[in-house]
Subunit: 149 residues, 2 copies
Amino acid sequence: MFSQTVEYALRAMVVLANAPDSPQTAQSISDIAKLPPDYLFKVMQPLVKAGLVVAQRGKRGGFMLGRNSGEVTIFDVVNAVDPIHRIHTCPLKLRTHGIRLCPLHRKLDSALAMVEDALKSSTLAEVIESGDPVRSLCESVVKLHAKVH
Amino acid sequence: MFSQTVEYALRAMVVLANAPDSPQTAQSISDIAKLPPDYLFKVMQPLVKAGLVVAQRGKRGGFMLGRNSGEVTIFDVVNAVDPIHRIHTCPLKLRTHGIRLCPLHRKLDSALAMVEDALKSSTLAEVIESGDPVRSLCESVVKLHAKVH
């Protein structure tokens, strides 16, 4: 239901959110997010276009978040790369339905609305600063308790 | 987010649910559901395979629901043609994540779970017998109130 493009875009955005002060190269994003290099520009282009990412040129250039990570929701990212198409009018174009959806399409649209709301309720900052020991994109630190004899 | 195949499959199922006692021909489903004929068999095949539809051969043959419309949820139909892929394990295959999802993937999976629950909560019978004046797949009856002089 979430496309591969959405998955990759969110991973790339988490990489950038984790490095707010240092531009990340395409290579770096690709490595950390396990994102195929060929796919990277396809993913970054709509994020830049939406203003969620800025591309800095030059020797120390790279990609950075265009806004504070606390101001970018998961929905913003999804919407930039593969928008959720709500059902606003009858998909069959029935003349008498118009914007009055039938029970089938109302049900589908309400499911889409729930997804939108859920994705709008989390920012990138919340995702990376959750305090959860399982951190996004990173191997967890496995604590080894050495036995003391 | 819902594919065209899902949309077409649901429309076809509503056609069959509206005619529980008479097999519907491919032509009839295609006409009522405004479904491209070339697409019809692609849509019907997985529905038959899932047991949601039965295909009857012969002169009076056609497609019928495989179960009572009150026993088929919208989720059953979606799942037969274009399943919702829940996130059960770390998509990055991080060794230390495994089935313990990070906050990002937990958020995405919980949105998918909500969609599943929403679609499981409605049957085809509910969709076609809702009492709503805007009926699925049909033009609404426009009541004309003639002025009585």
